[in-house]
Amino acid sequence: MTDDVRLGPASLAPAEPHSKDHYSDRALDHLTRPRNAGTLSGPSGTGSDANPSCGDRTTITLRVADGRVAELRFRTFGCTAAIASASVLTELAAGLSVDDAARLEPADILNALGGLPVRKEACALMAIGALRGALVDARVRATA
């Protein structure tokens, strides 16, 4: 049966639910229920990164125990993508060995969030930057 031509391609049917300009439900869930927000007191390492073009910034504090990332907290001043990236990264990195945590990449954040709007992918890089900074800080402090 053919469609009623009056309701053809120009009909008011909704566009695809998650276009490349919109947030996934998983990203939105991290916005409304951020995981591990805050700051650890007496952390093994602290790292920060910022996006100078928009002023967003993230700080991650973490505790290392037996060569593993035992605990993390994040603080983000920024957009939905910046908050969701940092929030999901604290989940991804928790429990990993320090070396594996250092190998996490923006793509891992995008996979975990079910993607980010195209123009927001730099926000994932900022979260990774903060994590790597914290891991380096922890290593430096441990050898000091």
Binding site: D3, L12, P14, T32, A37, S53, G78, C79
Partner: protein, 404 residues
């Protein structure tokens, strides 16, 4: 045969149909008045003619365009011949600036404008400057977003062709003293343009009382269709056409008229004018309730724009420790539509040029939220916004590590 009628409701079902939406972004656009929509549909169906044709179909279309021109003229105290239909506010602003400079080529090339204009004015001025067609002076504003008439006077020189100062700001709602600024321009024999896209339909504007030579109007800000606007051009104002073609609109804006669109513009403005006094007073009360409610729940909220000289439907704030995009996305999840900075740049996280022009710190300017009310807005909508916003600001501040 089968299914066609059954399929229809599902195809039309919006995804968020179960959630009651609270629409607080009337400065971005307003829904088309149902009476206007009906009239436009009737024109699209029943009036096929080209207004330039001299036979019956053309004459009928012409009569509708003429009536719409009368309606727009009457609403602002103009003569019908002073109304030029355009594709919207952006084109009206472009025509005003480019048209005046083109008409004055070789004798005057100065443009004086302000730091808080819409991009349709600022970017046009800068584009003209980049191509050697204008010298541009941009005047700053005070902390409330007001332009000083004295600063306009000081910026004028012998080669100033046009001054462009908006009537009501689209982001912060501040109203400008356009009567005073217009009087200065008239004294110096300089054309005065005002982008009145946010105020036509909401505030009384009478071009017989205000010395303005060019005024931009946009239908979709007062419950008319998108893609239609007008430029008022006072008789005697020197203006050249920007586009060339068949010579419609007395050669000032050529191109076959958007008949249904201008009919919608005229009807929407007639209806808005009839409702204006009561509706603007109602909105100003709701706006004040909203501003007071936000201030009591979030005491360190920063109201942006002038405390009293502002659009009756505009409440705009900055919340430290938050970013506007996250505020807007969070509100959307709770069924509330609002915007941050100017709608045109919401995909961009740079702070708005308007908020920076007020002298706000960059971080504070990032946390901007614009709430603009309209015909659908009720006390319940305000209560819903207040209930949602308080928690959202607290949550975003917690994520940023800022004490609430």
């Amino acid at each position: 045969m089968r299914c066609v009628s059954n399929a229809r409701p599902e195809r039309f079902a919006p995804r968020l149909s179960t959630m009651r939406r609270v629409y607080l972004d009337h400065a971005a656009t307003t829904p088309v008045d149902p009476e206007v929509a009906d009239l436009m549909a009737q024109v699209l169906r029943d009036v096929p003619g080209n207004p330039s044709s001299i036979y019956a179909e053309g004459r009928r279309a012409r009569a509708l365009v003429d009536r719409a021109r009368d309606e727009v003229a009457q609403a602002i105290g103009a003569e019908p011949a002073e109304i030029v239909f355009t594709s919207g506010g952006t084109e009206a602003d472009n025509l005003a600036l480019r048209g005046v400079l083109k008409a004055r080529e070789g004798e005057a090339d100065g443009v004086v404008t302000t730091a808080i204009e819409h991009h349709a004015v600022l970017d046009t001025a800068h584009d003209l400057e980049a191509h050697g067609q204008a010298r541009v002076s941009v005047i700053g504003v005070d902390r409330d977003g007001r332009v000083s008439p004295g600063a306009v006077r000081a910026a004028l020189d012998e080669r100033t062709a046009v001054v462009s100062v908006m009537h009501g700001n689209n982001e912060i709602g501040t109203l400008q003293p356009i009567a005073e600024i217009g009087a200065i321009c008239r004294e110096r024999n300089v054309a005065f343009h005002s982008d009145a896209v946010q105020t036509v339909g909401a505030l009384e504007i009478d071009v017989r009382a205000i010395p303005v030579d060019l005024l931009s109007v946009n239908a979709h800000k007062f419950y008319g269709p998108k893609g239609v606007g007008a430029l008022y051009v006072r008789r005697g104002t020197r203006i050249a056409t920007v586009q060339t073609g068949g010579g419609q609109e007395r050669g000032r804006r050529t191109g076959t008229e958007n008949v249904a669109g201008v009919v919608g513009l005229g009807a929407a403005l007639r209806i808005a004018t009839a409702k204006r006094a009561a509706e603007s007073a109602r909105l100003a009360r709701l706006r004040d309730t909203l501003i007071a409610g936000i201030r009591s729940r979030i005491p360190d909220a920063t109201l942006t724009g002038h405390p009293t000289e502002r659009l009756p439907n505009n409440a705009s704030f900055c919340f430290s420790g938050t970013q506007g995009e996250a505020l807007v996305v969070s509100l959307d999840l709770e069924g509330i539509s609002a915007s941050s900075g100017s709608a045109c740049t919401s995909g961009n996280t740079d702070p708005s040029h308007v908020l920076l022009a007020l002298g706000l710190e960059r971080d504070l300017a990032q946390g901007s939220l614009r709430l603009t009310l309209g015909r659908s807005t009720t006390d319940d909508d305000i209560a819903a916004l207040l209930a949602a916003l308080t928690g959202i600001v607290a949550r975003l501040r917690a994520a940023a590590g800022v004490a609430a």
